[in-house]
Symmetry: C2
Subunit: 244 residues, 2 copies
């Protein structure tokens, strides 16, 4: 059995997220179907991170074991030939048996795009959250600095989350502004469910003056979901890269 690492891009608009589910079109489900078909045996796919319904990926990573031999670029092309055009395996490479896309990951980088234009272009609407009112990015950066580092992020995940350990480390939380967009870059070793989108929703609340930058640090201490801001819409979020 060979362990194969694949790097995947997808437009998540028409998928119910990464994780395989019965009777729903998911990224892991599509890859499982195609890989099992090509390998002539059931294939289990391990993904670096579960993206939610509607979230996109420029560099999702997964691995799987297969008995199929042969040229790995031919395998990549065969997988792509059996997938819809909105999922692509952009790279396939051999990995050591110890490699696991989730457990071996050191850092994941996400980007959240907020479009400020009055009208959103038909070429980008799937990938941005349209927010026309003014956001004060200086205040958003100040609030972001409260979140960088190692904290208990209970307030920034779903209420009553199954995960017991909710301490995570944010290595980067940057707010980049251009004429038509605000991009929020979020990097860390791991994330709780909805954590990136709740951080973004809270920063937006700061940017529009609904809460102070200082209140964001206090929110961490409450460990109450209700003290954080809303979960920002999925469409604006993209998993940019997973580092190993």
């Amino acid at each position: 059995m060979s362990n194969i690492k694949i790097t995947i891009q997808y437009d998540g608009t028409n998928y119910h997220g990464w994780q395989i589910q019965p009777n729903r079109r998911t990224i892991q489900g599509e890859l499982t179907r195609v890989l099992s078909l090509l390998a002539h045996h059931p294939v289990t796919i391990y993904g670096a991170g579960r993206t939610d319904a509607g979230v996109h990926a420029e560099g999702q990573v997964a691995n799987f074991f297969t008995e199929r031999d042969g040229d790995i670029q031919q395998l990549r092309d065969a997988i792509n030939g059996n997938l819809d055009r909105d999922i692509r395996v952009v790279r396939a490479e051999p990995a050591s048996d110890a490699f696991n896309a989730r457990r071996s990951a050191i850092e994941k980088i996400y980007r959240y795009r907020i479009c400020k234009d009055e009208v959103v272009s038909p070429f980008v609407y799937r990938y941005v959250y349209h927010y026309r009112a003014r956001l004060d990015t200086d205040l958003m950066r100040l609030a972001a600095s409260e979140l960088i580092g190692t904290h208990d992020f209970t307030a920034f995940t779903v209420a009553h989350a199954d995960t017991e350990d909710r301490v995570r480390t944010l290595t980067r939380l940057a707010v980049d502004e251009s004429a038509s967009e605000i991009a929020i870059i979020v990097a860390g070793g791991g994330f709780l469910r909805y954590m990136v989108r709740t951080i973004v929703g809270t920063l937006i609340d700061v940017g529009r003056g609904k809460r102070t930058a200082a209140s964001v640090g206090e929110t961490l201490l409450t460990r109450e979901r209700s003290s954080a801001g809303p979960t920002a819409p999925a469409c604006g979020l993209t998993l940019v890269r997973v580092d190993y």
Copy 2:
């Protein structure tokens, strides 16, 4: 009656082109439906150029006369509110009564994108022609220089075209290459049916060594459609801008 100039963007993937047709989803058809609805009277829309089925626009221009008064940005937002997200009116502005989007146009600029990557990203596949074999862009530029200027372009339009005068002026035909794409920029006062895509298909034939650069000038002289190259696929073509 006020004359209104609108600038329109569209992802042409799911449309049967610009021109209104019965029982087919077209850009002009969608705009006619929405504008007539909002104006409470039938509205005729004049477009700068008819784009074919599957062709996109970043800056199509049209005009129409309406009895509706009121704020023009509100009109723009009302139009967009009644259109699917893959068509957007990005600008609406008052025009003089003499303005006609087609007749007043001085120059139209098109871009044709050829993707050279082994795998086409899910974020761009709708907007490029995927061509993996190597193309010699120096030869393509040499061939392009044969076409710039004023010529009878009969060989580069549909056989037995209705248009009697097939003399057109190409002001620019540039071949720009980056690591993953070749972009062919085509500018001129007016174009015959399929002319841009037939020019592109002929330049691709030169780039892949199927014909010489010099043969392209000779093709103009034959005035025979059969002596030009194939019509390149619609998806790679975008109407970038119309200048007045």
